[in-house]
Symmetry: C2
Subunit: 145 residues, 2 copies
């Protein structure tokens, strides 16, 4: 399985960088997982129009699953089922201002980790842990924290 995660801006919080690295390492043993940092467009709430940041995203992927609190919710087992359906996945995680409406509309699918709003950096950690959990479910392995 080949999973690309495209997120906007670099992770700044040190403790999150550590957690993210931890799960990327765990995931590296189970799938081909790569992270693409999309350069952030600073200080502008996102509106309907495509931003330069959005343009950079679309240069990298044309078929992606967007993470957004309004998207479809799964249990972890359901998410494993979703992940098991395809061989390649591109997941997009927006920046501090989310994504423009165009990026929302162009998404092949939109999924949600929670109805609650998480910080865009914390989403990365939570999502990677879910990916790892899903891979252990797919492979029928015991989950090691």
């Amino acid at each position: 399985m080949k999973i690309r995660i495209l997120w906007v801006g670099k992770t700044k919080e040190q403790y999150l960088i550590e957690g993210i690295d931890r799960y990327l390492k765990l995931l590296g043993h189970m799938a081909q997982v790569s992270v693409i940092d999309i350069k952030e467009e600073k200080g502008k709430p996102r509106g309907p129009a495509l931003t330069a940041e959005g343009g950079r995203l679309l240069k990298q992927t044309r078929s992606y699953t967007l993470l957004n609190e309004k998207g479809r919710e799964f249990t972890s087992v359901e998410f494993a089922g979703y992940l098991g359906k395809k061989v390649n996945f591109d997941f997009v995680v927006g920046g501090p201002y989310g994504v423009s409406e165009e990026i929302m509309e162009k998404a092949a699918d939109t999924i949600s980790l929670s109805r609650m709003t998480f910080t865009h950096e914390m989403v990365r950690l939570v999502f990677l842990e879910q990916l790892y959990r899903a891979m252990t479910i797919i492979k029928g392995m015991e989950y090691h924290h």
Copy 2:
């Protein structure tokens, strides 16, 4: 507002300890927040009967909101509304094996951060960030990451 968070077992992951401390400090400026570590009962999946761990929990609180993935979901704004309704809150976060059915049944309320299963340690971080976010909403403050 007085919030007590009762969780089972100490946090072991260093990066999570750092994140948790960060939000506890931020919350400390906005409410009276305390954490009570309940000693964990090791290595037993939880069943219907009250465990020694559950007994220790009930010694500390008789009216609590349990965090459980099957509980009621909120948006962050709805959660702020929920939090604004009372002056005192006890929140219970289970350990690696969750809680016994008796602790589930005795809960005054059960709320969920996500339909997905998070590690019991990561729940702590995510929940504290939501509490902080809710407090900024209640107080009409800007959210600082």
